[in-house]
């Protein structure tokens, strides 16, 4: 490398750092906007879940299923579809979201989403300039892995929002974890931008590592859904049994989607990335075959990828098995995600195997 190029690259690396720090500032603002959203939202007294559950007894004999005779049907030009929840699940409405239907809450929520989108752009800029400074895929060490990971997680969330999916409820959790991730990355994992060790010189780096990051980010979103499902589910069953959950719990959980929706959301997310995770492991095996002369050697990283994979397979099986649906399956999903996280932080830092490279 000529000295000139070195200087240019150091410049880019510097810009990248500034962008990453700036994105943290923007995410922090988004965090406060979300807090404001939740606080203003708590002023609305909705109580819809309780009403739906306690009112259910009174409305036990609605059962007027014939729609289309008289009434409004005649003015419709296309038939209306009526949906019912699947057998055995509570038939509850989704909560109104963090803003609780209040105008002020909604305003802050919108501000928070806009700031998150801005933070995403700035952070993505940080990742891209980092890549340009080293002239390779920006996934050579844990610092680079972490900043890409949170960028992709936020990106996935924004894509879901843009597709008009009901996901705004996870804004606060997401922004909080992104800040944690970036904090850890910049304080403990920071590594100066540099070239790769020869074992990482391969187009499989692009394939295997990029899909691994996408899987992790999307699994994270699924896990957030699962966790909230568990809270919301115990809240609902408490209400169902005539209990009285605490005021704070009511205020927060009330505004989330129903447990059935959260469960379904988490399942769809996990099921959608599972094939990609399978592919990631296979791609890793092919790469290991080229780099180390064996495609599977029970290296710690390989072991934990396998454990994660089997745990998610367990979760998918549990969903299809009577007696394991619902909470038990949710615990399996959380276990599977915990394995993923451990594989990332724990295995990289604590167990060393062939996957340990320069600068953690």
């Amino acid at each position: 490398m000529t000295p000139l190029a070195v200087a240019a690259n150091e410049n880019l690396a510097h810009i990248s750092n500034v962008l990453v720090y700036s994105s943290m500032a923007v995410y922090t603002l988004a965090f406060f906007a979300h807090i404001a959203e939740w606080v203003f939202g708590s002023r609305s007294k909705v109580g819809r879940t309780a009403a739906a559950l306690t009112g259910a007894a009174a409305a036990a004999a609605p059962a007027v299923q014939v729609r289309g005779k008289g009434g409004t049907t005649a003015v419709l030009d296309r038939p209306q579809v009526v949906t019912r929840a699947g057998a055995g699940s509570r038939d509850l409405p989704d909560g109104p979201g963090a803003a609780g239907g209040t105008e002020k809450g909604d305003l802050y929520g919108r501000i928070a989403v806009s700031l998150t989108a801005l933070g995403f752009l700035v952070e993505a800029g940080g990742v891209v300039t980092r890549a340009m400074s080293v002239q390779r895929a920006p996934w050579g060490n844990m610092y680079e892995f972490s900043i890409t990971f949170s960028t992709v997680a936020v990106g996935a969330y924004l894509v879901l929002l843009a597709a008009k999916k009901n996901v705004r409820w996870m804004g606060l959790i997401l922004v909080t974890t992104v800040l944690l991730d970036l904090g850890v990355a910049t304080t403990w994992l920071y590594t100066d931008s540099d070239q790769l060790v020869p074992a990482l010189h391969s187009y499989w780096l692009w394939i295997h590592v990029s899909t691994a990051i996408i899987c992790g980010a999307v699994f994270y979103i699924g896990a957030a859904g699962t966790l909230l499902y568990l809270f919301r589910d115990s809240y609902e069953s408490k209400l169902e049994q005539g209990g009285q959950p605490g005021r704070f719990a009511t205020s927060v959980l009330e505004r989330l989607p129903s447990s059935a929706s959260l469960d379904k959301f988490a399942y769809r997310i996990n099921a959608a990335v599972f094939p990609l995770w399978t592919f990631t492991i296979i791609a890793g095996a092919i790469w290991a075959g080229d780099a180390w002369g064996r495609y599977w050697g029970w290296d710690p990283k390989e072991v934990w990828s396998f454990v994660t994979w089997v745990a998610y397979a367990c979760y998918l099986h549990a969903r299809a098995t009577a007696g394991w649906k619902g909470r038990k399956a949710a615990y399996l999903a959380l276990f599977a995600f915990a394995c993923w996280i451990w594989n990332y932080y724990g295995v990289n830092i604590l167990l060393n195997g062939k996957h340990s490279y320069a600068g953690v």
Binding site: A52, A60, A61, V64, Q65, V66, R67, K69, G70, G71, T72, T73, R78, P79, Q80, V81, V82, T83, R84, G86, L92, D192, D194, Q195, V197, P198, A199, H201, R268, A271, A272, P275, T278, F279, I282, I286, W287, G289, D290, W292, G293, R294, W296, G297, W298, V303, V307, V310, A311, A313, C314, L316, H317, A320, A322, W324, V347, L351, A358, G359
Partner: protein, 596 residues
């Protein structure tokens, strides 16, 4: 809920609704439960998953017991538990060093955790992945898998050849439902429904007053393919293990290797491997290039490695050039040659007391740190006679650094992996190297049992540091040793693993099958059309998918919209006609409200 068919009685609504209205309120609940159960059953029928068998072992003796065990083993619940065990069982292998991965680490671990060793050895924790208990888990899992796939495949084939299931009595209990009146004749509506379903590529079938459609068989097919692919992969791994061969070879630049068993430094093979399975080929190492980071915090980190070789296939093949890099093995006739490591080989010459050069060789030394501080041994086995003419052997312990820090800077450790300031330190011995004893010997280590030290003038072991080109004179005129220069070496792993292609095919099939299984919905749609009391036709449509379907209502709405162009919604009937229908009018909006 009445199970008799109500078509004969003049009802305006679907039969179920009419029942409900006339039943007592207490029966309502049971009716609902029954209907829910029916929906659930219908939904499980959309999968070929085995039913849960909750009965205990039947009384019918040994055979009954066996059958019960088999049913248990192939049930989803046991498959789930076995999967969970598989994931938990893999964990210890990442925490305890494994002897098939790193023997050295196992030995170190055993030294520091002596009290645990007997227990761990009993539990086979140093060989988790070939342990009895781990094997038991995956073998049971695969037995379960086969026991699961075979009946599921038959069932699926039967479903493909049979007709779609008949229409449930109460369509309004299905997860998605639509109903309207039309002036079109029921037969015309059904004919149109078939066209619509056909247009959307549903398999469809007309029975009585209804049409059944079903779609998404690829989900089940994908799921079966995925599970079969898992078996294919296991078979491929097993074959690979049994027939594989794998060996290591260190090659100094300018020298070569030919693929026969005797040339390997170390060699391992599966139990079904035969000597003749090694394909004949040979190669020579022409050059080895390595570059390292020169500055910054990662100074010394390797950046590129490449070994340039000339190889020829078969015994008399034409020589070809190739470059072997860390991620780019060379494939010769199904054998893969990997670049594993590299290091230096100081060239040393030894001159005997009479001035005759009796030894000149590049002697590879092994790196002990990332800056390639290396150690090794130089063994002069033949041709040496001491001053008195006595035949003897010479041995030198060699310590080599490619970049010396400078005199007086503590111990001699390398500061950088490249050849910036090479220094060779030798200590000298004479006597018998013990190489003729027939026992295998480590070439990088001196066996000093029958060797005596050369002494310097203080009576200490004779040793000296040499720069390239420098010589040292052994005490008492025993000869001279010259450090001529430095050569490079690279080590290669040559491995053959049949079954890789099969494993890859299995893996690809698994991913594709999985995608089919998880992204495709299997769902059913029913259309029922019958004449109502007021002379118009009542059209009911219902959809059912596996519980996770989000798009089902949308799809049903689309189909209903398509059908309603052929069977347009009739204008509102007379108010008393609605009364005759025994129902209070309920708008769809109202119905949504009930749901939520």
């Amino acid at each position: 809920m009445s199970t008799t068919d109500n078509t004969s009685t003049p009802v305006a609504g679907p039969d179920g609704a009419a029942d409900e209205a006339t039943d007592e309120a207490t029966d309502e609940a049971t009716a609902e439960q029954t209907a829910d159960r029916a929906a659930e059953e219908a939904a499980t029928a959309l999968s070929t998953a085995p039913r849960e068998d909750t009965t205990g072992p039947a009384a019918a003796g040994v055979l009954g017991m066996l059958r019960w065990t088999w049913h248990q083993l192939t049930s989803m619940r046991v498959a789930l538990i076995l999967l969970l065990l598989l994931s938990l069982g893999s964990i210890p292998g990442s925490l305890v060093p494994q002897s098939n991965v790193d023997e050295l680490k196992v030995a170190q671990w055993k030294d520091t955790h002596e009290t645990w060793v007997p227990l761990f050895e009993k539990l086979q924790l140093f060989d988790v992945y070939s342990s009895v208990w781990f094997s038991a888990i995956y073998i049971l899992l695969f037995v379960s898998l086969i026991g699961c796939i075979v009946p599921r495949t038959w069932k699926f084939v039967g479903e493909l050849r049979g007709r779609p299931v008949r229409t449930p009595k109460r369509l309004d209990r299905m997860p998605a439902y639509a109903v309207w009146r039309t002036e079109a004749e029921p037969e015309a509506v059904l004919a149109a429904a078939r066209q619509v379903l056909k247009g959307s590529r549903f398999r469809h079938d007309l029975t009585g007053d209804s049409v059944t459609g079903e779609k998404g068989y690829l989900r089940e097919a994908g799921n079966l393919i995925f599970h079969i692919a898992l078996i294919v992969m296991l078979v491929a791994f097993a074959a690979g293990q049994l027939y594989k061969s794998e060996g290591g070879k260190l090659v100094v630049r300018g020298t070569g290797f030919s693929n026969t068993m005797t040339q390997y430094d170390d060699f391992r093979s599966g139990s079904l491997f035969k000597r003749d399975d090694l394909p004949p080929f040979s190669f020579t190492l022409d050059r080895f290039d390595a570059t390292y980071e020169r500055t910054g915090p990662q100074k010394g980190t390797p950046r590129t490695f490449a070994a340039q070789v000339t190889y020829s296939k078969g015994a008399f093949g034409t020589p070809q050039k190739a470059s072997i890099e860390v991620n780019k093995p060379l494939d010769i006739d199904g054998s893969k040659v990997y670049l594993i490591g590299h290091g230096y080989a100081p060239i040393v010459s030894v001159t005997d007391p009479r001035g005759k050069v009796i030894f000149k060789e590049a002697v590879p030394v092994l790196p002990i740190d990332s800056n390639i501080t290396s150690t090794g041994a130089i063994k002069v086995t033949d041709g040496y006679r001491d001053k008195s003419g006595k035949q003897e052997q010479l041995g030198f312990n060699a310590f080599f650094v490619p970049t010396f820090a400078g005199v007086g800077k503590g111990q001699m450790f390398s500061q950088f992996p490249a050849l910036d300031f090479p220094v060779l330190a030798l200590s000298a011995y004479h006597g018998s190297l013990g190489v003729d004893s027939g026992l295998p010997q480590n070439v990088y280590r001196l066996n000093k049992d029958k060797m005596q030290e050369f002494k310097d003038k203080d009576g200490q072991l004779f040793k000296q540091r040499l720069l390239p080109g420098e010589s040292m004179t052994l005490p008492n005129g025993a000869g001279t040793v010259k450090f001529e220069g430095v050569e490079r070496w690279a080590s290669f792993q040559i491995s053959q693993q049949p079954g890789n292609g099969l494993a890859l095919a299995g893996a690809v099939a698994a991913v594709l099958g999985l995608a089919g299984s998880l992204f495709i919905q299997r769902r059913r749609v029913w259309v029922r059309a019958r004449r109502g009391a007021d002379g118009t036709t009542l059209v009911e449509m219902a959809g059912l998918g596996r519980s996770e379907s989000a798009r089902l209502p949308e799809e049903l709405a689309g189909l209903a919209a398509a059908l309603s162009t052929e069977a347009p919604i009739a204008p509102e009937p007379e108010p008393d006609a609605a009364e005759a229908g025994t129902e209070a009018p309920a708008s769809p909006a109202h119905a949504e409200g009930e749901r939520g």
